[in-house]
């Protein structure tokens, strides 16, 4: 969870975790207010449903010691927040809101209460589509350019499974649409690159030639052209897809990569492997 660590924070982890979880919303506070309301005004049955489980939640999930204890057995750093999902916020708050509104008999008072509760809910949340709704381009919910890139590569290559270097967003999306494209960069490498620079030591590591590609083409770090071409060769990368604005494109074409075509804002470049590489699926028919 955004770099939070139980080891570093100790019993303060829960508070920090809750703070991230709630963000700018106040629904957790409304839930607590709802419980207080039930305690004071709820029916016996309502109390039986919501109060004991909330006390048990307080003793377990919301106990600051719980993540510290759990961390001895499992790595809960990035996933502890999911325990908060057990809290029936999405049931209790709407239930009490409706109960309160329908509980008022007089028409005018009911409208006033409706207005008040609406304001309270509006102020408690953060609208998911506050920046507008981004409608999908197509039934696949993939950018049209990405689909065009896939088409360009398959039209150009003779390989069934060509290997491609893609920028971050396309790298995460491409194989959902086209599993016949092999990717040079793993998800973890890109996640590292989002927040970090590659050190000299990492760039010299012969076990990870792909670091040089991300460093040069995405992070704009200094990498020799010969090293970059060697990295393309070692990773068997035949295609490089970059944003048209990427300043490394002239550098790559100068080094011998050919432009296969353009798809929207993206340029597809081809590197001719010195030693042609063919990826083949493992033959399991011989196993039995």
């Amino acid at each position: 969870m955004q770099g939070l660590s139980v080891f570093d924070k100790g019993i303060g982890y829960l508070e920090a975790c809750l703070s991230y979880y709630n963000g700018e919303t106040a629904y957790m506070l409304l839930y607590v207010l709802g419980l207080i309301y039930l305690l004071l005004k709820g029916t016996e049955k309502e109390k039986q449903v919501f109060l004991p489980c909330s006390i048990f939640l307080l003793l377990t999930v919301y106990n600051p010691v719980a993540p510290v204890l759990l961390d001895h057995f499992f790595d809960v750093n990035s996933e502890y927040y999911r325990f908060f999902w057990i809290t029936p916020i999405v049931l209790l708050i709407p239930f009490l809101t409706v109960k309160l509104i329908f509980g008022v008999q007089e028409r005018k008072s009911r409208w006033v209460l409706l207005l008040l509760l609406s304001c309270m809910l509006l102020l408690s949340g953060r609208f998911l589509y506050r920046n507008g709704i981004l409608w999908a381009d197509n039934i696949y919910k993939m950018p049209e350019d990405l689909m065009a890139v896939s088409k360009l590569i398959h039209e150009d290559t003779e390989a069934e499974y060509p290997k491609v270097f893609l920028e971050y967003e396309y790298n995460m999306q491409m194989r959902q649409y086209d599993p016949k494209l092999l990717l040079t960069i793993d998800r973890e490498d890109y996640l590292y690159a989002v927040g970090n620079q590659f050190t000299e030591e990492m760039l010299e590591d012969p076990a990870h030639p792909q670091y040089k590609l991300i460093a040069a083409l995405i992070k704009d770090q200094k990498v020799d052209m010969s090293d970059l071409l060697a990295a393309l060769e070692e990773t068997h990368t035949e295609y490089v897809v970059l944003d048209r604005q990427n300043q490394r494109i002239p550098w790559l074409t100068e080094a011998g990569l050919e432009t296969v075509g353009e798809a929207g804002d993206h340029v597809v470049l081809k590197y001719r492997l010195k030693e042609p590489y063919t990826f083949e699926l493992v033959d399991y028919s011989v196993v039995y």
């Binding site: 969870m1 991230y20 979880y21 709630n22 700018e24 919303t25 629904y27 049955k45 309502e46 449903v49 004991p52 489980c53 048990f56 377990t60 999930v61 057995f73 499992f74 996933e79 999911r82 325990f83 999902w85 057990i86 029936p88 916020i89 999405v90 049931l91 708050i93 709407p94 239930f95 809101t97 109960k99 329908f102 809910l121 509006l122 408690s124 949340g125 953060r126 609208f127 998911l128 981004l134 409608w135 999908a136 696949y140 919910k141 995460m172 999306q173 194989r175 959902q176 599993p179 016949k180 092999l182 990717l183 040079t184 960069i185 793993d186 998800r187 699926l281 493992v282 399991y284 196993v287």
Partner: protein, 370 residues
Amino acid sequence: MTQILIIVCSVAVNFILYYVFGSLVLFRRGSLAPPSLRVIVGFFSYYAVFFFFCVPVMKYYRPLSVLTKIWSAVVVIAVVMVCITDHGNWKRMFSSACERIGKHPRYVAGLCILITVQIILVACTYHFTLDAAYYVAGVATNVDTNMINVYDPFTGAWQDHFEMRYFFATYSVQDAVVCQLTGIAPLIWTKSVMATVIILLTNLVYVMTARELFALTDRTEGGQAESPAEPKILAMTAVILFVNLTFHTIYTASQFLMTRTYEGKAIVGNLALLSVFYLFLLMNDEKKRGLLIRPWFCVFLICFGASTISSTANMLMPVELTVLFLPLIFRIRRYRWLLPYAACAVPGMIFTLSYVLYVKGYFVFYTYPR
């Protein structure tokens, strides 16, 4: 237009299959479990049963097509069994549903509008999420290679062993089976068909839970409701939608439901947790407790089914069972419930333990004989 028709038909077929599996689980001569409960329990039963066929095929690196054939046969047998045992109830249920719609047309129309809005929001909008790179690409990779979890979804490279974190979560393998069988693109199946199914199921549980919650408040001494529940249920569903659209940080279950609906985590965080809460509500009610058909078996299937959908359930479901059922067991002094309560937590704990042993290097499942 054809694609939309395919999506609509696929959603309908899914619901029929869940109903079939739910009917098998909740079948009892002379008793009739509500269709809504059959569908919900059926959904989790479907994935729980699939697990037992999937794991051996995957573990012994048989092709996906073998699993597709086996699973098709299982589903056909289940459908035939329900046709034989349950066909007498269909007419009764259909006329009961029509009667209910006729009684409350505005309520039904309101619910339809609310649910349609949600379906449009989840099925027609674009959301970039990192985890889709694993889940959806995993389905696409399995279909393309005709193998099960042998190739890395992120890069397409061959893996020499199975990733145990996802080994028992066979939900996405079922997606691959259906995609292979029908030829529907994995992206359409996961992000449109399954997203719609999950929204419909989650709203079904909201309505069922709202009905029970208002029954707690409204029932008079004689057991009759003070006022019709339908307007309140509709209003509560509307407020729930509002909360789901505004309880938004990247960590909340609402956010997962509205933007990452097709992921196992979203199903566990919303549908599974709420389904267990609904059953808890029924079991908390002395009068309804006696009418329920195999309530603990239903809870077990939901917990086990959830664990086969996402490994997140392995830690969430035992905790939810504890916070809901332990106080209930002690309050009503029904200590013999302690055994089924523990049994419901067992599958998740076994999966968790095996993952811990794998991480600590005690065992590994290779993807090729050694």
